[in-house]
């Protein structure tokens, strides 16, 4: 792999707080190595801003290895940037060439209000989980783990859905700001496993209700979410969610 350096123009959304209006600021950055990660490039810019006595750009990040779900930049019109199955923190500068202009925005959705610059409030996701995204088993009540056999295919499918990192890119990519991919991943993970069976109906009904309450839009199946999801959560989960929801609705005992 050949390494190279580049100069770039960045247009970054700056917003002091949720109460103030935001706007784009333009920055020139030079001598960026193709080996840097995207966030390391922002680090370089921030170091400079601090030296110049300016406010550095606030952004969420923590693990920087694509698993915590904290990082969340909308880069040139696409959540997490141009690479497939990738988070912002894993994007590396070899995706760009000298002279490129890069526009960086926060996730845009009414249910994810901006806190500062590129940082948004995603606590709505936690509240959706609180509505039923779990199996009600207290510590100490479990039987031997191998007492229950689970087909490998089912276990693998549950795992694939459980791989969601709760980043919110699906919402940011959707023109309706729908949270269906996120929700369907959790519902699928638990519905596919025998442990999830007892609460299967109430779970899906309560979680959907909470999602609506949080103000996320409805799903018109554009599949934009799947295209940007860093964990390649499939839209077939949304189909499963719809099925679960209908069955639960029809058979619910009030």
């Amino acid at each position: 792999m050949e390494h190279y350096n580049m100069n770039l123009t960045l247009k970054v959304w700056r917003q002091k707080s949720s109460k103030e209006q935001g706007r784009f600021e333009t920055y020139q950055v030079s001598d960026i190595s193709s080996e840097m990660s995207f966030l390391e490039m922002i680090d370089v810019l921030n170091e400079r801003l601090i030296k110049e006595g300016k406010d550095p750009i606030a952004f969420d990040h923590d693990c920087r290895e694509g698993i915590c779900g904290a990082c969340s930049m909308y880069i040139n019109g696409r959540p997490h940037g141009p690479w497939q199955a990738n988070t912002t923190c894993q994007l590396h500068m070899r995706a760009y060439k000298d002279g490129d202009t890069i526009v960086v925005e926060p996730w845009r959705a009414n249910s994810f209000p901006v806190i500062k610059d590129l940082v948004v409030d995603r606590t709505a996701f936690d509240r959706i989980v609180q509505a039923g995204g779990y199996i009600s088993v207290n510590t100490g009540n479990a039987v031997d783990a191998n007492a229950m056999l689970i087909e490998k295919d089912k276990a693998d499918a549950a795992f694939a859905a459980a791989a969601c990192i709760g980043c919110g890119a699906c919402v940011a990519a959707c023109k309706n700001s729908s949270a269906m991919l996120f929700l369907s991943a959790k519902v699928s993970h638990l519905a596919l496993l025998p442990q999830g069976e007892p609460e299967r109906k109430s779970r899906v009904l309560n979680m959907v209700q909470q999602m609506d309450k949080e103000g996320f839009g409805s799903c018109t199946f554009t599949e934009a979410c799947e295209a940007v999801c860093p964990k390649e959560i499939s839209v077939t989960n949304i189909s499963r969610l719809n099925k679960e929801y209908i069955i639960a609705g029809l058979t619910e005992e009030k």
Binding site: M1, S33, E35, M36, S37, L39, E40, D43, V44, E47, L49, I50, K51, K54, D55, P56, A58, D62, R64, E65, G66, I67, C68, G69, A70, A85, Q90, H92, R94, I115, V119, T123, D126, V129, Q130, G133, Y134, I135, S136, V137, T139, G140, N141, A142, V143, D144, A145, N146, L149, E151, K152, A155, D156, F159, A162, A163, I165, G166, H189, L193
Partner: protein
């Protein structure tokens, strides 16, 4: 003086005995008792969920925007448990023994035995919660092996074990939030603990001060808040980021533990650091963190360097007989599966001797060509393909390796731009885990009454070196199965303690101290960024208190750190204001604490004139260059008491080995 409160009696009966006799709190009283939990990683989330279920009123805090993002999420390889599902001779005793030996005989037998005992319950609990651990076609759970052991006892979920376990604990936690038993505070950072003495009937203060609360900063508004708890649990993770570059998340820090230390909690074995052998090497000065390639890769990958120094050929051009599989050569019994400290030092030895690879020469190869061929042949055999071509073998082998390690290989490719299915990965050791932490007794209580430490934040179970897949086990053991019992033993005597007013002078004073320090930091208005200080601290630590340590280097490091501290407090520049979201201020608070911790780590390393586990003193090695312990002088836990700036007193806790008699560790 130090009382580790290890129950009397036979090793394998201690925990059962303890549980049978510890004090209980009745349900009506639990509702009146408040518990503060700092941290929502595996340790904190499991504790919060379990204590909430029991009926305590719990408040949990984390600095991320969601409890699900705690650094435990990043654990890849797996979690150990003595289930013996593979029928390969595993048992509670063997897990206990491996852990004690792996820790180079510097951990407490009683704690480690308890850990091994509850390990099996953890897997049961997680599966009941719906954690999708890997399974075989028959529907049973699957296992893999990890370094330092000869049995297969590691449970996993592809390369995302920590994520899946944490999501399980997070969901249990959110369930308790929904039920009103836990109140969750995200984007809050604990900046101090509040200690208050009890009063007798006449209103006179009596006894030792107890931990009764914390002061936190709301990271969105910058406001300081006071919170009361009858007990406080620190589950704030490890301090590997003292080295600046490590596999830890960017926000991982020592602040919570350090503030507790300054208020009287002893710090145990601060110098014990784990340097993980298989990480992606540094690519340049811009590097902000290092990425681990899971130890599970050593199951199937082979590690080598060229036999010729400074060999610049591409790896695929170097013929088999000119490769040095140095781990297999030096340690035939364990080969590529020696414990981490041994593997890391062996890599450093080769690179220092001029055999390193890649442009920096600070790397060795981790090669999968062999495994791909081996698995390919097995698959062809299963499928009944006779005389398969090399191409067919390779295709089937690739499928197997992809299934087992695909996400790790993808991660490698994203970072380096190289395809590890085609060329061997380049790896180098990196700081990964800290065995040291707050000193705790058998009940996980620090030397401050009512203040507990769980998970990586305590020093307890791994001695001088942690075996792979044992941190997840310990975090969940502490949170699900230990603290629910041991905290009752303390809180049973607190049922008549009323919630203390947040206007109590100690709350007011502690908040003022925190505010003063923040204002002091902001008013320095110097010229150097927080990051630049952190980088310099990291370099001192890596060079002089890293993989190999010696007296001269450590003495120099202490002086350099003291100078760095002065410079930091006179020239750091923090932009922005106090009453707003200010990530630079958050970082400054943390780096200031890392600097102080760095000094203590060097002091501890200097004091320990022996090599053990991850602590390698160059003055103390065998003729073959292996770590040489000195049991006669150093068979103790170093518990350090903070006396004042740059001033600590050592309280050794003697280690007694009644069952696992110390021997020189050998993996040959």
């Amino acid at each position: 003086m130090l009382n580790s409160k290890i129950p009397a009696g036979q090793l394998d009966l201690k925990w059962t005995d303890y549980k049978g006799h510890c004090k209980l709190v009745n349900p009506a009283n639990k509702r009146k008792l408040e518990v503060i939990i700092v941290g929502t990683g595996l340790a904190g989330a499991s504790a919060a969920a379990s204590l909430g279920e029991l009926g305590y009123k719990v408040k949990a805090f984390c600095f991320q925007d969601s409890p699900r993002r705690a650094h435990s999420i990043a654990a890849q390889g797996g979690i150990n448990a003595a289930k013996n599902y593979q029928n390969d001779g595993d048992s509670v005793f063997r897990l206990f023994y491996d852990t004690i030996k792996g820790g180079d005989y510097r951990a407490r037998e009683a704690n480690v035995h308890r850990l091994a005992e509850v390990s099996a319950n953890i897997i049961d609990q997680c599966v009941a919660q719906g954690v999708p651990l890997a399974r075989e076609y028959g529907g049973l759970l699957s296992n893999r092996s990890f370094g330092g052991t000869q049995v297969q006892r590691t449970f996993y979920a592809a390369g995302q074990t920590g994520q899946q376990l944490l999501i399980g604990a997070y969901q249990a936690l959110e369930r308790q939030v929904a039920l009103g038993n836990v109140t969750m505070y995200t984007r809050h950072e604990m900046l101090d603990v509040v200690l208050i003495k009890d009063k007798d009937k006449a209103g006179n203060e009596v006894g030792e001060a107890k931990c009764r609360g914390i002061v936190v900063r709301n990271l969105i508004t910058g406001e300081l808040e006071r919170h009361f708890g009858h007990a406080v649990l620190l589950c704030s993770g490890g301090y590997g980021n003292v080295f600046y570059l490590s596999t830890n998340a960017m926000g991982s820090n020592v602040t919570a533990a350090w503030k507790a230390h300054r208020k009287g909690a002893y710090f145990g074995n601060p110098c014990y650091t784990q340097i993980h052998p298989t990480c992606i090497p540094v690519s340049g000065d811009h590097q902000s963190k290092l990425t681990l390639m899971s130890e599970s890769l050593r199951n199937d990958g082979r590690i080598w360097v060229p036999k010729k120094q400074g060999d610049n050929r591409k790896p695929n051009e170097i013929p088999e007989e000119e490769r040095d599989y140095y781990l297999e050569r030096r340690y035939p019994a364990f080969g590529n599966l020696v414990p981490r400290d041994v593997a890391s030092r062996a890599a450093k030895e080769r690179c220092d001797a001029g055999y390193g690879v890649g442009s920096s020469k600070q790397a060795v190869y981790l090669d999968y060509a062999n495994a791909i061929e081996r698995y390919g042949k097995i698959e062809c055999g299963k499928l009944g393909i006779s005389n398969p071509s090399a191409e067919v073998i390779r295709k089937h082998g690739l499928d197997v390796v992809k299934e087992k390690y695909g996400n790790l290989f993808d991660m490698y490719e994203k970072i380096t731009g190289e395809n590890p299915y085609e060329v061997p990965m380049r790896i180098y050791p990196a700081v990964h885990y800290t065995m040291g932490g707050l000193w705790v007794d058998y009940e996980l209580m620090t030397t401050v009454p009512g203040l507990y430490a769980l998970g990586e934040a305590n020093f307890s179970d791994h001695g001088a070196n942690r075996l792979g897949a044992s941190a997840l086990m310990q975090g969940l053991a502490d949170g699900y199965f230990v603290i629910p019992y041991t905290i009752g033993n303390y809180l049973a005597d607190e049922i008549s303690t009323k919630a203390i007013s947040l206007d109590h002078p100690e709350f007011v004073k502690t908040e003022k101290d925190v505010r003063d320090r923040i204002e002091k930091l902001m008013n320095i208005k110097g010229s150097q960024s927080v990051e630049s200080f952190h980088k310099r601290l990291g370099k001192i630590m890596w060079d002089k208190c890293g993989m190999a340590r010696n007296e001269k280097g450590l003495q120099e490091a202490i002086v350099e750190i003291q100078q760095l501290k002065k410079e930091f407090w006179s020239d750091v520049r923090i932009p922005g204001g106090i009453s707003e979201m200010n990530p630079e201020l958050d970082k400054a608070n943390r780096v200031a604490d890392f600097i102080e911790l760095g000094e203590l780590m060097c002091k501890d390393a200097l004091n320990r004139k022996e090599s053990c586990g991850g602590h390698f003193r160059e003055e103390s090695q065998t003729d073959e260059g292996e770590a040489a312990r000195n049991d006669a002088q150093f068979s103790y836990v170093s518990a350090w008491e903070f006396k004042g700036e740059s001033d600590w007193q050592l309280h050794p806790e003697a280690l007694n080995f009644e069952v696992a008699k110390p021997t020189q560790r050998s993996y040959k």
